[in-house]
Amino acid sequence: MSQKAKLREYHAAVWDEPVVMEMGGPGRRGLVFREPEKEVSDIVGTAKGLVPRSMYRTDLPNLPELSEQEVQRHYLHLSQETLGMMGISLFGTCTMKYNPRLNEIIASRPEVSETHPLQHQDTLQGTLELIHNFDLILRELSGMDNFAFQAGGGAHAAYTHCCITRAYHKSRGQLEQRNEVITSIQAHPCNPATAAAAGFHVITLPLEEDGYPSVDALRAAVSDRTAALLINNPDDMGIYNPHIADWVEIVHEAGGLCFYDHANFNGVMGKIRARELGFDACMYMLHKTFGAPKGGGGPAVGAYGCTAELAPFLPSPVVTKELSGYGLDYSRPNSVGHIREFWGNVPQVIKAYSWARAMGAVGIERAAEISVIANNYMESRLLKIRGVTKSHPTINGPRMEMTRYSLERLTEETGVTVNDVSNRMVDFGIDAPWLAHHPWLVPEPITPEAGESYSKEDLDYWIDVLAEVVREAYETPEIVKKAPHRQAIPQINGDALDEPEKWAMTWRAYCRKHRNENG
């Protein structure tokens, strides 16, 4: 295959790093603290004497003892054993994009990192101004009237909406009656899960042949028990529901609220506004769409925006702008209160603001276009690869910013699964691709999302790697099944992970279960 010559001979760093609990030696120190001044101990006595006897710890914690540099090298090695975005990461639904380094430098300055959320607002005017101005940017993008940033991720924003839904219906004396939330099987699991955790019954609509649930199914599901609709659009298959405005009308007529899970905003930025489609609330993920980093799972932000009608219920405090300056409003009697302490992951909000300013309106619109072009370009090449089909193959026409593919045929013909393919792709310096949430509606799913940050050569490389792995699957499947071969470690043996007598979430548990030690 001509493309093979282009593929990199990538190999991950292999440090064979011990677990930190096994490292170091007795008495070594990585961090020392001074003794209190003599006058201090003279007055208060020993620390032991300042603790109720029953609460004093008599033993030292069994932590490793390491010098400063040993700790540094250990964790640097671990960072080097993390491929993540060091190669090409087209992890679908997560909108992988460049996280500008400037923003990390700004956020690590004491103006941000050494501020306390309960400082007097006069001392936080800079931060409050940035947050307020970012709120204005999101209002312009969504058409909503107010944003709050307390939610620590997209799922947490869905939960915020469920809390606000409770408060809204309670304020109308209808909460006991309106105890159902409607979503679709293609919506992220956090939508039904947060609704259930907030106390609602969940109705999940199945997909029909167009790739989304039918208007009739929605009509049959709504009633005077409907509290809210939680829905994403476009979905993870890249299909935009053209009836979404009708959906909102149907739910509104039934008396429910409509929440737009805008996890998949990247392809429609500057193209549609949630409010103009009739939605009452929406959510943006600042760690995805707005250029803030993911941190391997947070700290993240689900920016939650809503209409003026719902704004009184927003978590407290909200940032305000008055003639006298920016403020934090805590006295909001209808607020749901706190869904998390303080007012959000402030550094991430600042990074997202910075990203939005760097992009501007023209850049944001351009990014949406590039991500849609790039996805459809990938599709034009990927569908030519043997064994690759796309979800709902009968639906012709372009998809939005991502497409869900299926490797079912490859699996049938070679026995190589999509998990095997994923394990092999990383050998070429490609971050593991996103497959799909459970349940897998599309067999052997794989969901790349190109975004705007990767060059055409990067996208071609990703496609070439998949083509090569598919070739291997047909010609030498064992190479793929036994992959990876060029990572920090080979495949793990997952047998123990779900067995209570074998799993070990800590070193103590491991020593007890696997080394017969008492920990």
Partner: protein, 470 residues
């Protein structure tokens, strides 16, 4: 330079040259618009997008951000005594270096092989916290201390099949608000009723008689904190846990991990589930964006099967004597079961778990002992020293760690007024409690950590004396 060249954006390689045209050609469409035909025309923007000017030049953007942020005043420029759930501790330089590494900062979630290093770092967070807590089961962190309590209460409710929880009346109002959201309004069928345990007005510890009167076979869990919101160390925690056990009630303890070189692990006084903040372990306050919470317990199915967290287990690889790390019990989360899963699971605060792992490796057993002792002695010294000032008294006489409440009623001055004058002297005074806990009068919650020294405390005393005398 042409306009097209200026349109090229540093974040977007395909904004340059002919990449877009080449891709459109390969797709077989004439223009970009053709790719958006899924969206009905009447769904498109009703008015064009109006945003502030683009700042694609890094140096202009940097200037702008710094100019706005220069309007902040921070806790390095001022002498800070605010805590209350977000505490100013020393952050070792290596913590910042490691969490600033682009590999850890930007990754999403690869395979156990390709993101092996991140998984190992997360396992080491759980393992080291497990040693501080003497517990075998530690989940990956959740959003915050309050969220950890909320999940733990719901765990206890599922475990016991009961629907009441007892929480201290003296609790952080923000944490309480979070808990109440987790417990759901009374209108919901799955509502968990929150009952409050009164506190002893002189010591600040729990009122045992009040607790006894509220314990019953309807109570899923008793929740207590060591130290509590106002810094008081509960002295009868063991009795409380025994009383709870006698009722078939779970004991959930919230503790500050930076105290655990000095204070007992909650499991030693009877805790079933332990929760707490992660932020004290090597994470900057970040204006509240540094918060993160942990949940831990014994490693039995009774508990582990109820976790909503992602969990990382050590595992073997196909090569002998080599460790790998993979997700454990993921099937019980919302990723596996949607609305049937345990609460919900999503993006959390995993980068902070890595910061905390680094912190615990650096501190080691002796570092935790030293920092615990230093904070204890300095906060006690501060309470003693400040209460020498006329008009200032300690609201509680119980044992304290890190935080304490000063009362200014005798001075006849409001906390708001005092703090305003302190601020003019570059001192951030303690948090005003007068509206949260009116029964405490004009009181403020002061926080003293290892960052302060005697000079700082004496300086606060001088300022406070002068302010009160003015």
């Amino acid at each position: 330079m042409s306009g097209a060249e200026r349109d090229t954006h540093p974040y977007m390689p395909n904004s340059a040259g002919h990449a877009q045209e080449e891709m459109l050609k390969a797709i077989g469409v004439k223009d970009i618009e053709a790719l958006f035909k899924q969206i009905p025309p009447h769904h498109r923007l009703k008015s064009s997008l109006q945003l502030p000017d683009q700042l694609s030049s890094e140096l202009e953007l940097r200037k702008h951000l710094l100019s706005v942020l220069s309007r902040n005043s921070n806790c390095e420029q001022n002498l800070n005594f605010l805590g209350a759930g977000c505490w100013q501790h020393h952050v070792p330089a290596i913590c910042d270096e490691i969490v600033g590494r682009t590999e850890f900062l930007t990754n999403v979630w690869g395979t156990p092989s390709s993101d092996h290093g991140r998984n190992q770092a997360l396992f080491e967070f759980c393992s080291q916290l497990g040693e501080l807590l003497k517990l075998d089961m530690v989940g990956l962190p959740v959003y915050s201390y309050g969220c950890a309590i909320g999940h733990a209460v719901r765990m206890a409710s599922r475990i016991t099949g009961r629907n009441q929880v007892l929480v201290p009346a003296m609790i952080d109002p923000e944490r309480l608000s979070v808990i109440k959201n987790y417990c759901e309004p009374i209108d919901m069928a799955s509502h968990i009723e929150v009952l409050y345990i009164a506190y002893d007005a002189s010591s600040g510890t729990l009122d045992i008689d009040d607790l006894r009167s509220k314990l019953s076979d309807r109570v899923a869990a008793v929740y207590l904190e060591v130290p509590n919101y106002v810094g008081v160390i509960e002295s009868r925690a063991s009795d409380i846990a025994q009383m709870a056990r006698a009722c078939g009630t779970e004991t959930i303890v919230g503790c500050d991990p930076i105290s655990l070189g000095l204070l007992s692990s909650p499991v030693d006084y009877g805790a079933d589930i332990v929760v707490g903040p992660v932020q004290p372990l090597g994470i900057h306050m970040n204006c509240g964006g540094g918060v993160s919470g942990f949940i831990a317990s014994r490693d039995t199915e009774r508990y582990v099967r109820q976790y909503n967290t992602l969990n990382i287990s050590i595992a073997e690889t196909n090569r002998s004597r080599q460790y790998g790390f993979g997700l454990s019990c993921a099937g019980q989360t919302s990723y596996g079961l949607r609305e049937e899963g345990r609460d919900w699971t999503g993006n959390s605060t995993y980068l902070w778990a890595i910061a905390a792992a680094v912190y615990m490796s650096l501190a080691g057993p002796l570092g935790f002992r030293e920092v615990g002792e230093l904070i204890s002695q300095q906060s006690n010294y501060a309470r003693h020293r400040l209460c020498e000032i006329e008009g200032v008294s300690s609201a509680f006489d119980g044992h304290i760690f890190k935080e304490f409440v000063l009362n200014f009623d005798q001075a006849g001055r409001s906390v708001a007024d005092i703090n305003s004058q302190l601020r003019a002297r570059n001192v951030f005074g303690g948090l005003d409690l007068s509206s949260y806990f009116p029964e405490l009068g004009q009181s403020a919650l002061y926080c003293v950590t290892e960052l302060h020294n005697k000079e700082d405390i004496d300086s606060l005393a001088t300022h406070l004396s002068e302010v009160l005398a003015s």
